[in-house]
């Protein structure tokens, strides 16, 4: 049985690199990524699972990192926006002007990136379901939808 009873040194795999970090068992992943690893791409917003600004990928699936313990992520592959490195969805966001202030952007990028990897040809209803997990206060929804559709249709590589 894996146990973490106090502040301890653990290993995390983030963006395909091994990191050693000191964590409290009650630390949330969002905090560890930002404050310990300096990966500030995942943004704090509501801390309540509502806004999606903190979304990262855990074993390829989108997860709101404000509602995941760092301890739960041990042994898993975590991907943050810093790990995307010129993914098609990043180019599509720029070409489609899919952001204004940019605060929600990394969360949306992670959801779109996971969607493109898991469902290369999804029906519109699936695209909508995935995108509805995130909120954009600047209301760039139309452009974000265009960006993911560009990637899915293969017209942005």
């Amino acid at each position: 049985m894996f146990a973490l009873s106090k502040r301890s040194l653990i290993k995390l795999n983030v963006n395909q690199e091994e990191y050693e970090v000191f964590i409290r068992p009650s630390d949330i992943l969002l905090f560890t990524l930002r404050e310990q690893l300096g990966l500030t791409g995942a943004k704090p917003g509501c801390y309540n699972g509502d806004c999606g600004a903190c979304t990262v990928l855990v074993d390829g699936l989108p997860v709101k990192s404000c509602l995941m313990l760092t301890a739960e992520a041990i042994g898993k592959q975590i991907t943050t926006v810093e790990g995307l490195k010129d993914a098609p969805i990043q180019k599509a966001f720029i070409e489609q002007f899919a952001f204004q202030c940019g605060y929600c952007t990394s969360g949306f990028l992670m959801v779109c990136h996971a969607l493109a990897n898991r469902h290369p040809n999804p029906p519109d209803i699936v695209i909508d379901e995935w995108l509805q997990s995130n909120i954009c206060r600047c209301t760039s929804y139309e452009e974000i939808g265009n960006a993911i559709r560009k990637v899915l249709s293969g017209t942005c590589k």
Binding site: F2, P25, M68, A71, S133
Partner: protein, 277 residues
């Protein structure tokens, strides 16, 4: 940030889980079983729950099972995520219900057991289980026991201290029955329900449980007797609304009068769509 410290355990077997729970209690600590963690983390952050240890059950193989057993029962582990259940499409009504809880990203984290045992008043995943007469397999220090969901879930999942839900067992015939699912929210598509119903038709009879109507999810034989009686759809809807009217929720999502109106329309809608099924 969670403003207090706790210990984290991830047992590999059911026995390890109940043993560590008991050991921590004997040390005067307050352990909790931890599954998706979405409710525990959000409540801990604002001080609505405090505990000394989280026992994460997601590594226990029995809690992750998704298969048919030799008796043609669908077995769903309590630590399956809502999206795993929806994507499997093995229990279409449960998949549909799970697919309308929170949003897609949250569905990749919220688990079946966590939703059934949560403190929020909706616990929508119980609705399909109540209609399908599912059975809950519970692990305690004395071993495994199976309970009809309609007994162990009375307003809430009533588990003895130290025990946890391992899996849900459902007869294939019920899991594959013709079904209906209606979730009405105040405003947005993604929200807590003003009213959700998720039922099936078995042997020509409709089964209709509710969440959001009262301060707990429920299935009522009295309501189903009226629903399956003769009389116009409107008369049946009126009678049902009268039987529950005293307990209907009255809050900022919807007044009790409005919920009653939504209830009647929903019943008529169900009767119409299911009449030829």
């Amino acid at each position: 940030m969670i403003p207090f410290d706790f210990e984290y355990y991830r047992p590999d077997t059911m026995q390890e889980a109940t043993d560590i729970f008991r050991q921590l209690e004997s040390e005067g600590k307050t352990p909790v079983y931890y599954s998706g963690g979405t409710e525990l983390i959000s409540m801990a952050r604002v001080g609505n729950v405090i505990f000394d240890a989280a026992i994460d059950i997601k590594n226990i193989p029995e809690c992750r099972v998704l298969e048919y057993d030799q008796d043609n029962n669908l077995v769903l582990g309590s630590a399956l995520t809502l999206s795993e259940i929806t994507e499997s499409n093995q229990f279409p009504l449960l998949g549909k219900t799970a697919g309308r809880i929170a949003d897609h990203t949250m569905q990749c984290k919220i688990t079946l057991g966590g939703n059934l045992a949560s403190t929020i008043i909706y616990r929508e995943t119980v609705l399909p289980l109540l209609t399908a007469e599912s059975r809950a397999v519970v692990a305690s220090h004395d071993g495994l026991r199976e309970y009809p969901i309609n007994e162990i879930f009375n307003q809430r999942l009533n588990l003895e201290k130290g025990s946890f839900l391992v899996k849900i067992v459902t007869n294939r015939g019920f899991a594959e029955s013709p079904y209906f699912h209606i979730k009405k929210t105040k405003n947005e598509k993604i929200d807590y329900p003003l009213l959700t119903t998720a039922g099936i038709k078995v042997g020509g009879m409709l089964r209709i449980p509710f969440s959001g109507l009262c301060s707990y999810p429920f299935r009522s034989m009295q309501i189903e007797n009226i629903l399956n009686d003769t009389g116009s759809f409107e008369e049946r809807a009126d009678k049902i609304a009268d039987t529950v009217s005293e307990n209907i929720l009255n809050d900022t999502s919807g007044s009790s009068e409005y919920r009653k109106f939504v209830l009647k329309n929903t019943i008529i809608n169900v009767l119409e769509t299911m009449k030829d099924v």
